[in-house]
Amino acid sequence: PPWDNTIEGIIAGFERVAAGKLGLCVAQIEKRQKSGMCYEDAWNMTSVQLTAASEAHCRAILLATYHKETAEQAASTSPALRRVLQQLVDLYVVYWALEYVGDLLRFTSISERDIESLQSWYEDLLTQLRPNAVGLVDAFDIKDEILNSALGAYDGRAYERLMEEAMKSPLNAEPVNKTFHTYLKPLMQGKL
């Protein structure tokens, strides 16, 4: 079937990739068995391809479930939030399409022009989501005490907090460490 450069089309493409990879695995196993290999050895020889097929299957489900469930969830949200949630779904699906571009070329009728268009779509989505990046992570609502990070605190005092944490190092409890007298000074004076 012709390639459909939409979210639904990409998800269908992933299903095609998963089925294509799995079909090849089954064919490989059968071919190896016909050449005299036992099933277990044929399976082992095909196992790298099998893990890839399994991963593609899982990606297809992940994308399809994310797309479907978000559409249902977003139906009851405000238009502003709905737009952002949809942008996130689009970004995620397009990102994985670009990650799987080799497999899509192999198992679907995607063209180079479609890929260029996906790449532009992806870059546009990044730009569209950019103003909401901080709002999106604020929505995870993780308190500073739980985040436990000098870099990620809500107030953004990253540099001050880095310095505060540095001061907690036990080495900063004294201005001169005893190793200076035991090793460094004797070494510098040629008395070690």
């Binding site: 299957h57 899982c58 489900i61 996130l88 901080v134 709002g135 870099l151 990620g152 953004g156």
Partner: protein, 472 residues
């Protein structure tokens, strides 16, 4: 608040609280979570006089035990006040809150996420009545030992034996080789006094495969290991050094007959073995934990992207346009590429985790009525989603660390510790490649079913449609 960060918040186009409510599953759930967090933080368990990263291995464990016990006390208070269910334990111990208080993991975690669920899932009603109450009150501390030094996921290869002696109506637990020693379980080393042990069951001279047994490891008063029990800690690891992972060997240890969990298979007093309706039922605990894992990965990713995104709004670097100030690094497309996919991944996995959780509950409800049709599908799905969620989470946390440059390498950024927790999940509960091969086995069977014209279960039904494409 940093001026740049405030500016970011001012330009946000949606209501942040509305999204928080969706993430939590409703306004009430947000309130519940916030209340729980507030209560935990009020106890000040997250505050250390010396940051735990500067403590020795032994001190880290001792602090982890202290905090885990105080945390339990707090949860008990919460239970008494609200009379809520098991979810409080999971939310407090396993979620972000748990790792904030116990940054290197909890030695009591397996008690709640594996010991109690296994007794509930695989014990008879009588066994549940006896053990679950004791476990909930923490009269006993349990863990779950399956993996052995010589074998991990391949459970048929496990060597620990449980041989039934009808003359005394006891099982004899034994570790015949060094490779049969149990290896890895959290809390096993110096914390738990009871353990669910997976062992090869022998009765009337015949092996019936692996079955779960409850074994007392330590004296309930003195905590000394019981005779025949060889137990200790496995040593320092990449991360999770507070979880007290242990080894365990048995030298002809005798336990009563009713210490075998017998909801599925049974051994009668005379040693007669009564088979389980499905050998797959033994996998119940592992599936439950894998489903939980997907959710945990969302929490870790959310933490990592929150840290890296806020930092990227504050950090300014380079001067691409002359005479203009250094831009926020969040304005660079490469930085957006690192962060925004991470944010989307949290939502994608959160939604999939909820979906898998619903499926798990439906399938386990069907099992109660003897319907096992969708069990292999759930097993295959929990395997591959465990593999992908942990691998993607590890990649996401690492990408966030890189997005923070050298500062992300600091332990005070909390990104390295988070990476330690996430990457551990790629290995435990089944290494990811093994997980993907388990799913592949199911997929190949599904493919062959489709080839024979049989109908397929919902998550693989697309195979029938696509099969008719060019490759067939």
């Amino acid at each position: 608040v940093n001026v740049d960060l405030q500016k970011e918040r001012d330009q946000c186009t949606f209501d942040v609280e509305e999204l928080t409510n969706i993430i939590d599953g409703g306004v009430e759930k947000t309130d519940e979570r916030r209340k729980r967090v507030e209560m935990a933080l009020k106890e000040q368990l997250h505050i250390d006089s010396v940051p735990s990263v500067y403590l020795s291995h032994k001190e880290k464990y001792e602090l982890a035990v202290k905090k885990a016990c105080l945390l339990f006390k707090m949860i008990r208070k919460l239970q008494e006040e609200e009379n809520t269910g098991m979810e409080n334990y999971r939310a407090v111990l396993g979620g972000n809150l748990g790792t904030a208080i116990l940054s290197d993991g909890s030695p009591l975690l397996l008690h709640y996420v594996m010991f109690i669920p296994t007794v509930m899932g695989q014990g008879t009603v009588e066994q549940q009545a006896y053990w679950v109450g004791r476990a909930f009150n923490l009269d006993i501390i349990g863990t779950y030992a399956q993996t052995e030094l010589g074998h991990g996921t391949f459970i048929r290869g496990l060597e620990t034996t449980a041989t039934y002696d009808p003359s005394t109506k006891e099982f004899i637990l034994h570790s015949p080789t060094l490779t049969s020693y149990k290896w890895w379980p959290g809390g096993l080393a110096h914390t738990a006094n009871y353990c669910i042990v997976m062992a090869q069951l022998y009765t009337k001279g015949k092996c019936h495969g692996i079955h779960p047994f409850i074994v007392q490891l330590r004296d309930e008063e003195t905590h000394m290991p019981l005779p025949g029990i060889k137990v200790g800690e496995i040593g320092a690891k990449l991360g999770m050094n507070g979880t007290n992972n242990g080894f365990l060997g048995f030298d002809q240890v005798r336990i009563p007959r009713d210490y075998m969990l017998m909801k599925n298979s049974k051994v009668l007093e005379d040693g007669t073995y009564v088979n389980s309706p499905s050998s797959k039922l033994t996998y119940g605990t592992m599936m439950f934990v894998r489903v939980m894992l997907v959710n945990d990965m969302c929490n870790y990713m959310a933490k990592a992207v929150t840290i890296a995104t806020r930092y990227s709004a504050v950090r300014r670097q380079s001067q691409p346009k002359p005479d203009e100030p250094e831009p926020q690094i969040l304005d660079y497309l490469t930085q957006q590429h690192k962060l925004l996919v991470g944010i989307a991944s949290v939502h994608a996995f959160r939604i999939n985790a909820n979906w898998l959780w619903n499926m798990y509950n439906n399938v386990t409800a069907e099992l109660e009525t003897g319907d096992m049709e969708r069990l292999p599908e759930l097993h295959a799905l929990s395997c591959c989603l465990k593999a992908l969620s942990t691998a993607d989470a590890a990649a996401c946390v690492e990408r966030c660390r890189l997005a923070c440059g050298g500062h992300g390498y600091m332990l005070s950024s909390n990104l390295p510790t988070t990476y330690g927790l996430v990457t551990a999940a790629c290995t435990y509960e089944g290494e990811n490649t093994v997980m993907l091969l388990q799913t592949a086995r199911y997929l190949v069977k599904a493919w062959q079913q489709a080839a024979s014209g049989n109908s397929l279960t919902p998550t693989v039904s697309y195979l029938s449609v696509v099969r008719s494409g060019r490759r067939s």
